[in-house]
């Protein structure tokens, strides 16, 4: 079975600085997808970034980028120029590829990010 581990329950970053959130996963599959979701106090889960395992290039979305290390099964999220609005819970998630027949996400336990003014 697949597992997702986020070992940092809480992180803090100074406004305008850069922070990296860690995520590791375990799988025997070769085809899968990885996601980072942000959950502010409103509870709304917002997709931050998505990575297909078959792509070697790391995904980027504006100030958000990932460091995807497939062999190490690591998928960290880097937030550059941190803003107060980035404060939230961040969840790493795994989804199997099409051949698996399963479509559910497997989530880590989350990292609470605090942004200090």
């Amino acid at each position: 079975a697949q597992t997702v581990t986020q070992s940092q329950p809480e992180m803090s970053v100074q406004e305008a600085e850069t922070v990296t959130l860690s995520c590791t996963y375990d799988t025997s599959e070769s085809d899968y997808y990885l996601f980072w979701y942000k959950q502010p106090p409103s509870r709304q889960m917002i997709l931050v970034i998505r990575q297909e395992a078959y792509k070697q290039q790391n995904a980027t979305e504006n100030r958000f980028s990932v460091n995807f290390q497939k062999a190490a099964k690591s998928f960290s999220l880097k937030i550059s120029d941190s803003q107060l609005g980035d404060a939230a819970m961040y969840f790493c998630a795994y989804r199997s590829g099409a051949a698996s027949g399963t479509y559910k996400y497997i989530f880590g336990t989350g990292t609470r990010l605090k942004v200090l003014a």
Partner: protein, 113 residues
């Protein structure tokens, strides 16, 4: 609609009562998912719908939990004879197809007294 909506936003009930939670997915999304999020925890998968059928119910924790979907649209998650351990946020997500990114609603916070 513009996004996934869920109702009620919050629900307080007494132990032993039945509750119904509703999810309205994004229009045209064929896949719908229910997750449970206990306080301070990640999301646990409950059930997946493709159209009106549920090919994966593996996450439902007991036979007190059931869900249905009608018209390839709205879904209802029903919890019978609620227990205090059922207290959690129940999140619904939908995706255009089963292989595409899931978009989440704001959740229903359930408190069982």
């Amino acid at each position: 609609g513009a996004g996934v909506s869920q109702s009620p936003s919050n629900k307080v009930t007494e132990k032993g009562k039945d509750v119904e939670l509703r999810c309205d997915p994004i229009s045209g999304h064929t896949a719908l998912y229910w997750y449970r999020q206990r306080l301070g925890q990640g999301l646990e998968f409950l059930i997946y719908f493709q159209g009106n059928s549920a090919p994966d119910k593996s996450g439902l924790p007991s036979d007190r939990f059931s869900a249905e979907r009608t018209g390839e649209s709205v879904s209802t998650l029903t919890i019978q004879r609620t227990q205090q351990e059922d207290s959690a946020v129940y999140l619904c997500a939908s995706s255009r197809t089963r292989l595409e990114t899931q978009y989440f609603g704001p959740g229903t916070r359930l408190l069982v007294l």
